[in-house]
């Protein structure tokens, strides 16, 4: 009879081919559900008993919220490594401040030997400021350095940005096909982790990762030619190092990203200033 179960296992129509569902769709549904609830929860005309119940519910939620936050902060094992890692990428009302350096090695056929990036990010809610320096090294020995700075504010499906690269400055409103701030990092994770904001890339790729067998601190991908390994602080879930590799026969880049630091700061006047774009150096010189 055990053959029947084995045969049934072999006939699984998915055979492990199942993409992680989109968290974006859930967020949209959640916002709709909250919006639907709101009118019936107006306190005007609510009977006394219902008001007391609402108060009790509110207090319970505050206590639960405190417990949940304490749990996330402590990382005491009740949340899995994946859940802790995911929670760690959320500023949760404060400011995430982190810096990384990475090396992107393109496929052998290109003229680029490697690109080194150094970056620093301040992120709070939908706002972020990213400062990066890229050093491009060509096979013929040529080197070039580019400094860029970008401030963004994501709103729905658009992103307001200010950007300069040392020579020019631009501001605008970018409309994106998907909610802004989410990177399509499964296409080229090496680029997403190196050239842009690695934590933003991690936030969107985490749903497709799982804890590596026998490890306490590694999340990795499986079932695709793209190999992503994320090394984490097992207690807090903070990212320490991200390594991306492709299958040998794919002419695509690989990368190693190391977080120099990763910390949470309160949202105050000092961090508000960090989140704003400083005046362009040229403007500063004129004034």
């Amino acid at each position: 009879m055990s053959d029947v179960l084995e045969r049934l296992r072999a006939a699984d129509p998915l055979q492990g081919r199942c993409e992680a569902p989109s968290l974006v769709a859930l967020r949209e549904r959640l916002e709709d559900a909250v919006a639907e609830r709101r009118p019936s929860e107006s306190p005007a005309g609510r009977p006394e008993m219902a008001r007391r119940r609402a108060l009790a519910l509110g207090l319970t939620l505050v206590v639960l919220a405190g417990l949940a936050l304490a749990l996330v902060g402590r990382g005491d094992g009740r949340l899995s490594l994946l859940a802790r890692a995911y929670a760690a990428t959320d500023p949760a009302g404060g400011v995430l401040h982190y810096a990384w350096s990475s090396r992107l090695v393109p496929a052998a056929s290109t003229g680029t030997l490697y690109v080194e990036y150094r970056g620093e990010v301040w992120r709070s809610g939908s706002r972020s400021r990213t400062v990066t320096e890229a050093v491009l090294v060509l096979r013929d020995g040529h080197r070039s350095v580019t400094h860029t700075e970008r401030v963004t504010e994501v709103s729905g499906r658009s992103e307001r940005y200010a950007y300069y690269d040392g020579h020019s400055i631009s501001r605008g409103l970018a409309r994106t096909a998907r909610p802004a701030g989410l990177l399509v990092c499964t296409a080229l994770p090496a680029c997403a982790f190196s050239a842009t904001d690695p934590v933003s890339a991690l936030h969107s790729i985490y749903p497709s990762l799982h804890q590596s067998r026998g490890s306490r601190d590694v999340l990795s991908s499986a079932g695709t030619p793209i190999g992503v390994r994320v090394y984490l602080d097992p207690r807090t879930g903070d990212p320490l190092r991200v390594v991306t590799r492709f299958a040998a026969d794919l002419p695509t880049p690989s990368s190693t990203t190391v977080f120099r630091y990763f910390r949470r700061l309160p949202l105050d006047a000092a961090t508000e200033a960090d989140l704003r774009m400083p005046p362009h150096p040229a403007t500063a010189r004129k004034s």
């Binding site: 029947v4 995911y86 929670a87």
Partner: protein
């Protein structure tokens, strides 16, 4: 939505949505499967305080109920299928992915919904006994007996199908190589 609730729900989603999605994808078409996953996690959000320490069986049981409601709603929409009643309930969803083993697919259609669900939870969703029992809301002892009987019935149904439909067996042999 409080920040803590949202965070907890998203952590829950990241950890368990792939399993719930796979569960739904094996039983319904892709678009409805994604809708089912969202529905399950919205229910989870409304009942966050009730979630057990190991939430996966709770989420799968919820997905099972959502799919059953979907099937019932579908039946209500069609007077013809309404008349077919229980007979239709045992059929797999028309949009569900095809099982490559034809004989096995025919044998599964001959089982009751309860037997089929039990066997699929074990073979496809790879749940252990404790999680299966929690998903189906029974004790582990009862589960062991029900699983033993379901396997026996599937073996018998398979033997019958292979006798009645030798061409299905041939297809099966091709699939299995």
């Amino acid at each position: 939505v409080s920040e803590a609730d949202r965070l907890r729900l998203e952590a829950l989603f990241v950890e368990h949505a792939p399993a719930v999605h796979a569960y739904a994808l094996r039983r319904i078409d892709a678009a409805s499967a994604e809708e089912t996953v969202n529905e399950v996690f919205l229910i989870a959000w409304r009942r966050l305080a009730e979630l057990p320490e190991d939430p996966l069986p709770w989420l799968l049981a919820c997905a099972r109920r959502v799919l059953a409601n979907e099937r019932r709603a579908g039946r209500r929409r069609s007077a013809l299928t309404e008349r077919a009643g229980q007979e239709i309930a045992a059929q797999p969803h028309p949009g569900a992915p095809a099982i490559p083993d034809r004989a096995l697919a025919l044998a599964l259609e001959r089982l009751s919904e309860a037997d089929r669900e039990l066997l699929l939870l074990c073979a496809w969703d790879r749940l252990d006994a404790a999680r299966m029992a929690a998903t189906l809301g029974c004790s582990r002892g009862t589960l062991a007996v029900r699983l033993h009987r379901a396997r026996r019935r599937l073996t018998a149904a398979l033997a019958l199908v292979e006798r009645e439909h030798p061409e299905a067996s041939a297809t099966t042999m091709e699939v299995l190589g």
